[in-house]
């Protein structure tokens, strides 16, 4: 269990009703029996009769997301997402997509990306930003923060793929590595609806340097031991571009798929993040044209 994130184990929701399920501390400790560091972190968490205290878990995860946001900000993630969304949106508009264009952030947490886009993204008045997550406490925090800054963005406690109407495009950051095995193609299968024209999923780019780099940044920048642990595990178990392309092809064959932004220009330096771009075939040409000088960052279409 050295490649499992603590945050995945201390939370449980019924996927149909989204009702929160009690999590037994002893069961989580058993899962981390071979990972002493994770076990120590879980052991220190508050519980009531062996059930992890949901309020304490919520407070902890809100704090962890706040620390994660710091790294996203340092690595300019809002700007990175905006720079890729603009050409996608241009392509959708040029090909007459139904308005408003609904961008749904899957597993948005406290909604940093959408709140940043609402504040600085300049995506246009015909774009609707919707964040979805199973976790009511994170969504509550996202709504509170958006209200404080008067940002035009909506957050829902929901399965992102069951929203009505569905998203015109789906977006995520650091989410897809949580889907293991058959769950990954199933995740992409959820995109394959007529109304959905595109998806962009950002995640850590695996490379020989990624585990060390992730460890260094989490050691230096994070305070919460849970954040430090999960951040490093995320980088270790992130999928390669080839794995993502294959899984997306299996799950959502109606989309063209390509990896975006895997190398730093002509330098052999890997980036921290790469993105899987999925597009309906009729938008490809307009998208590539809208990328302009950045089209060299786009890998081969599958």
């Amino acid at each position: 269990m050295n490649d499992v994130e603590i945050s995945d184990e201390i939370l449980s929701f019924d996927p149909d009703t989204l009702q929160r399920l009690p999590v037994r501390k002893s069961a989580v400790l058993e899962k981390f029996r071979s990972n002493r560091r994770a076990a120590r972190i879980v052991r220190a968490m508050a519980d009531r009769d062996d059930v992890l205290d949901p309020d304490a878990v919520d407070r902890r995860l809100i704090r962890v997301h706040c620390e994660m946001q710091r790294i996203s900000e340092e690595f300019q993630h809002g700007q990175r997402v905006a720079e890729l969304l603009h050409p996608v949106l241009q392509a959708l508009r040029a090909t007459g997509v139904v308005r408003p264009i609904r961008i749904v952030d899957v597993g948005c947490g406290t909604g940093f990306v959408l709140r940043w886009l609402a504040a600085h993204g300049d995506l246009g008045g015909d774009v609707e930003l919707i964040g979805a997550d199973y976790h009511p406490a994170l969504i509550g925090e996202a709504m509170r923060l958006a209200k404080l800054e008067d940002l035009r963005v909506t957050f829902r406690v929901a399965n992102a793929f069951r929203l009505d109407p569905p998203g015109s495009m789906y977006l995520s950051t650091g989410v897809i590595h949580h889907f293991r095995g058959e769950a990954l193609p199933a995740f992409f299968r959820s995109h394959d609806r007529e109304e959905t024209k595109a998806f962009v999923h950002f995640d850590f780019l695996p490379s020989p340097m990624a585990p060390f780099g992730s460890w260094l940044f989490h050691a230096v920048r994070m305070r919460d031991p849970l954040a430090k642990h999960d951040g490093v595990v995320s980088a270790i178990r992130a999928y390669s571009g080839a794995e993502l392309i294959r899984a997306a092809g299996d799950g959502a064959p109606g989309f063209l798929r390509a990896m975006y932004s895997t190398r730093l220009g002509i330098l052999p330096i890997p980036r921290a993040f790469h993105a899987l771009v999925g597009l309906r075939p009729e938008y490809r040409e307009a998208f590539v044209r809208a990328l302009g000088a950045r089209r060299s960052r786009l890998g081969d279409w599958a």
Binding site: I62, C66, F75, Q76, G213, V220, A272
Partner: protein, 172 residues
């Protein structure tokens, strides 16, 4: 001597101000955080002035009790000069990275983090110690070792002090 003190004071003030920023980072999940960071850096600056006053007072106090004041002053100048051999390149690297950070490019800004800000933040305590040891090797007097260690400890603990005020809050 005055130039050495002024240079060390300037570096210490920059370090304290940035410690204020660092202590405040990851504490607010708002998007527009200008006021949050401005306040944090001001707090760092003010605490840095207090720490500088305490440090200088310690130096003056030791200077008043040592029997060979002139020799002590000379040794101190030598130690400070050698400390700057370590601290100045470190500070200049950081300040140069800030200049690059001003370039509005995601890639350039990320590179400043991966190549400079992250690694150097990680080794900052070691650089603090290395500078002191390098300085002390030139004049290993017990007063300088003890005083220098106390002052370094004070500076390295500033960020921790500054972070205390954020701890009760879950997020802002």
């Amino acid at each position: 001597m005055t130039v050495l003190i002024a240079t060390l004071y300037l570096l210490a003030t920059i370090d304290a101000t940035l410690s204020g920023y660092s202590a405040a980072a990851g504490r607010s999940a708002l998007i527009r955080k200008g006021p949050h960071y401005r306040k944090a850096m001001l707090r760092g600056f003010v605490l840095g002035q207090i720490a500088a006053a305490v440090s200088l007072s310690l130096v003056v106090a030791v200077m008043n009790v040592v029997p060979d004041r002139t020799a002590f002053r000379a040794d101190l100048a030598l130690v400070w000069m050698r400390m700057l051999h370590v601290y100045l390149p470190f500070a200049l690297t950081i300040l140069t990275a800030f200049a690059f950070r001003a370039i509005p490019s995601v890639d350039v800004r990320c590179l400043t983090s991966t190549l400079v800000f992250g690694p150097l933040a990680g080794i900052r305590p070691l650089v603090g110690m290395a500078g002191l040891v390098w300085g002390i090797l030139a004049a290993p007097r017990p007063e300088i070792v003890a005083g220098g260690s106390a002052i370094l400890l004070l500076w390295l603990s500033l960020e921790g002090f500054l972070g205390f005020s954020y701890r009760p809050k879950e997020s802002v």
